[in-house]
């Protein structure tokens, strides 16, 4: 493209200079018309160049598809969210008459959006209401978590 621009500029400047140097008369007119034809050829040169080539946009542009996100910040916010959900879990159990359980939420750190991977519930020191005595407490805890946190039963791990 640079060459083409330089050629166009050069041929026009040459025409102007030739017009000034040459004496008035038939020769001047002839040379001016010759220069005009040359100028025409120079101007239409890129059309021939474009038709000979398979033009692809990727030749000009290199497009990238994504950015790298700040993983340490995402990890920090996810761990904060996990901590707050742990407190909410404790509140949930308390409102259902279950206390002294240790809840630990493991989140998926590979995904950019916070997703719960596993919920570990330690029921070693569990204190429950009397009416839970003849019910399987593991099922109660698991159901509570599944209902409220939109997770599958396999994701809840209860241990002592």
């Amino acid at each position: 493209m640079n060459n083409w621009i330089i050629s166009v500029a050069a041929i026009i400047i040459l025409t102007v200079v030739a017009g000034m140097i040459l004496p008035e008369g038939k020769t001047n007119k002839l040379i001016k018309s010759i220069f005009s034809i040359i100028c025409l050829f120079v101007l239409i040169m890129p059309i021939q160049y474009l038709s000979n080539r398979n033009f692809a946009i990727t030749d000009v542009l290199s497009i990238k598809n994504e950015y790298t996100l700040d993983e340490s910040f995402l990890y920090y916010t996810s761990s904060e969210k996990a901590l707050s959900l742990q407190t909410e879990c404790a509140e949930l159990f308390k409102s259902n008459g279950i206390t002294e359980v240790d809840v630990q939420i493991i989140f998926n750190s590979e995904k950019i959006v916070f997703t719960i991977e596993k919920i570990y519930v330690n029921i070693k020191n569990i204190v429950i209401l009397e009416n839970y005595q003849h019910i399987n407490i593991n099922v109660v805890i698991s159901n509570l978590l599944v209902d409220n946190f939109n997770i599958d039963a396999e994701q809840v791990i209860i241990y002592e």
Binding site: A9, L61, V113
Partner: protein, 390 residues
């Protein structure tokens, strides 16, 4: 009896208002703490480096301090745009530019008046060839004076677009991270490729097509007005229309697609988020409710920081494009003024050249504004879309 009931009702109202205030205060404090904690973890080092690389004029428009200081000022409501000082800065910049062009303007005027005088007296003692030569020399001298300032103008526009690209590459990852932290799962997957395409594809398209064609238009203006025999007006029109199409298409397609996709993804995210929230909120009365629990507070802090970062980026954008825009505006005005002044005294070719040059230069403004507008729209969509979660 009635009095006792009134007093009881009053007491209940007072106690209720006190408790809500206490809760509200607690929530506000918690939110503040969350925001401070998240801001400390957020990495804005690259933005600070970028701020350091700005010129003094741009820095004075953006304000002193680091980017985090600016975010804190926006968050606390301390940040105010002084419209008086802002317009004052624009006007002073404009007149400063005009002042720098006055020597060039007066030189062009002097040369053209001299040339005009010689042309007026030519029938008495000058031949046709000599007049042509005089015009050529005048034209070349005017060209030399114009081109010397035109190069720096081109350079400043190139630098400015490059600077906007750097801004995009720094600010988009931060905004997308904050969007991901505030739960915009689908929104991030929609905006990430769009933002990357804007900073790499569209900016490169402007660098590879629009700006070179603008340079071509200017060169054709220069050589086309040199001779009466060879006119390049139609070629200039062709390139102008190519430029118009490229700028218009890229602007329209990008903005329309991004807006539609962004709004759809935002509503999807909002609905799925609300559904998840109500699942927790309805069954457990203690946890549910607006901004009552820690989880919501963390998300809200991310959203608030995201909005503040977006506002900061817009201020940064304005301060970085203002200088070249004012430069181009004053240069274009200067060209039109010169053309108007020399038209009565000289050959119309030089006046035509100057006025067609000023229309060619408008494409520099158009490309700068188009890039800035696309960046602005993307930031606005990133800022506004995840607010629908709450």
């Amino acid at each position: 009896m009635k009095k006792i009931i009134y007093i009881l009702i009053l007491l209940i109202i007072i106690s209720l208002s006190i408790t809500t205030e206490v809760y509200a205060k607690n929530d506000e404090e918690k939110l503040d703490d969350n925001i401070t904690d998240q801001l400390d973890v957020l990495d804005t080092e690259k933005l600070d480096d970028y701020l350091d690389s700005l010129t003094d004029t741009e820095k004075s428009m953006f304000g002193e301090g680091t980017f985090k200081d600016k975010i804190k000022a926006i968050l606390s409501g301390d940040f105010k745009i002084g419209y008086d000082s802002f317009f004052d800065a624009i006007f002073s910049l404009f007149f400063k530019n005009i002042l720098t062009y006055i020597p060039i303007f007066s030189s062009i005027g002097a040369i053209c008046i001299l040339c005009g005088l010689i042309s007026q007296i030519k029938p008495s003692f000058l031949s046709e060839g000599t007049t042509g030569l005089i015009f050529f020399v005048t034209y070349c001298s005017v060209l030399l004076l114009i081109l010397s300032s035109l190069f720096s103008l081109f350079q400043s526009v190139y630098d400015s677009i490059d600077s906007i690209k750097t801004q995009m590459d720094i600010s988009f990852p931060i905004l997308l991270t904050l969007m991901a932290a505030s739960g915009g799962n689908v929104s991030v997957s929609v905006y990430q490729p769009a933002a990357a395409f804007l900073s790499s594809g569209i900016v490169q398209l402007f660098f590879a097509v629009v700006l070179p064609i603008t340079a071509l238009i200017i060169i054709f203006c220069v050589v086309g007005n040199m001779s009466d025999n060879i006119k390049l007006t139609k070629f200039i029109d062709l390139f102008k229309s190519i430029n118009k199409w490229v700028i218009g298409l890229s602007l329209t397609i990008f903005t329309v697609f991004l807006s539609v996709q962004g709004i759809t993804s935002a509503s999807y995210d909002g609905i799925s988020f609300r559904a998840a929230k109500y699942a927790i909120g309805n069954s457990v009365p203690i946890i549910g409710g607006f901004l009552k629990d820690g989880f919501d507070l963390i998300l809200a802090s991310s959203v608030i920081i995201k909005n503040a970062v977006g506002s900061g980026c817009i201020i940064l954008l304005v301060s970085s494009i203002l200088v070249p825009l004012v430069e181009i505006a004053s240069y274009s005005l200067f060209l039109k003024l010169t053309a108007a002044v020399i038209e009565p005294v000289n050959d119309s070719k030089i006046a035509n050249f100057l006025s067609s040059l000023s229309t060619g230069i408008n494409y520099l403004t158009a490309s700068l504004l188009a890039i800035a507008f696309m960046y602005f729209i993307t930031i606005m969509l990133l800022v506004s879309s995840s607010n629908s979660f709450f």
